[in-house]
């Protein structure tokens, strides 16, 4: 299967692109791979030394698990694929420290207070509130972050949004009919425009007699990452994951 990919928007965490020449099954496979197969780093175990806040250790730990961390697939292996066989080593896990004490006034602990042993790994955003501390309350803990997949736990789902739909195409003498159109539309010149630039109003973007139809083998993909990866890298990793699984299937059938 050969297809073309055309970037239409992208600013780090968000990307929108058009895939031409693909089937719905294939683009849905990519979407599902982004949600379930691309590994991301997340806190997996927490050793709580001190917690005098009003939040239970378990609740605090679950909140920490949901903090997105930047992911370095070059530097870390999935625990089950690591040479230590999941025992835990520098090749598959990284230590994260949190040591905050509210002295004289109320203090909010943010994701930016987490100190990660490896400078390549850090919270994707510094401003995620984790817990409020009253004066003299403190939290001291050491956590371990590991790679994991979204199909095993939602904390490892790097794509916060991954969706696609058929591309609309403008056609001459289509008789009009549409007043409002959302998303991306291919113009008569072959360019792809974002209808939000026109507040979705067709009359502002096209002539009165222009109509619209869907393009059967073209899909507009919109992807948003939680910060574990850049959106473009997320798509590449998803495609790689699909490719590896297809090869694995072919090998299994051949043997």
């Amino acid at each position: 299967m050969e297809f073309e990919v055309e970037n239409i928007e992208g600013d780090g965490r968000r990307a929108a692109f058009v895939v031409r020449g693909a089937t719905p099954a294939f683009v849905n496979g990519v979407r599902r791979a982004m949600l379930a197969d691309v590994p991301t780093m997340a806190i997996d175990t927490v050793d709580v030394y001190e917690n005098t806040s009003v939040i239970f250790d378990e609740v605090l730990s679950l909140r920490l698990g949901l903090v997105p961390l930047t992911t370095d697939l070059e530097g870390y292996e999935l625990p089950e694929e690591c040479s230590c066989e999941g025992e835990g080593c520098t090749g598959c896990e990284v230590s994260v420290l949190l040591d905050v004490e509210a002295e004289d006034e109320d203090t909010t602990v943010y994701s930016g207070d987490l100190e990660v042993e490896d400078p390549e790994i850090e919270p994707a955003q510094d401003g995620i509130p984790i817990i409020d501390l009253k004066p003299d309350q403190a939290v001291v803990l050491e956590a371990t972050a590991r790679l994991g997949r979204g199909r095993d736990h939602a904390k490892n789902q790097g794509a916060t949004a991954a969706a696609y739909k058929h591309l609309y195409r403008a056609v001459e003498d289509g008789g009009g009919g549409e007043d409002v159109l959302r998303g991306y539309v291919e113009t008569l010149d072959g360019d792809v425009v974002d209808m939000s630039e026109y507040d979705g109003r067709v009359s502002e973007a096209f002539d009165d007699d222009v109509g619209f139809e869907t393009v059967d083998d073209a899909f507009v993909f919109e992807v948003e990452s939680d910060g574990s990866y850049e959106a473009e890298q997320m798509v590449s990793e998803a495609a790689l994951s699909l490719s590896e699984r297809a090869e694995e299937l072919a090998d299994t059938i051949a043997t």
Binding site: A42, D44, V48, D57, S61, L62, G65, A143
Partner: protein, 44 residues
């Protein structure tokens, strides 16, 4: 299991023979003290 009186903050043990009552101030509300060890939590 050590407990702390919610009023006078002194540490005491709860003895059933004596009832739930602080031996120092007579208050009847106690707070459970956190154990000294490290607690491991699996984030799953």
């Amino acid at each position: 299991m050590p407990y702390k009186c919610a009023r006078c903050k002194r540490q005491t043990d709860i003895e059933s023979a004596r009832g739930i009552k602080c031996p120092y101030c007579g208050h009847r509300i106690f707070l459970k003290e956190r154990g000294g060890g490290v607690k491991r939590v699996d984030v799953r």
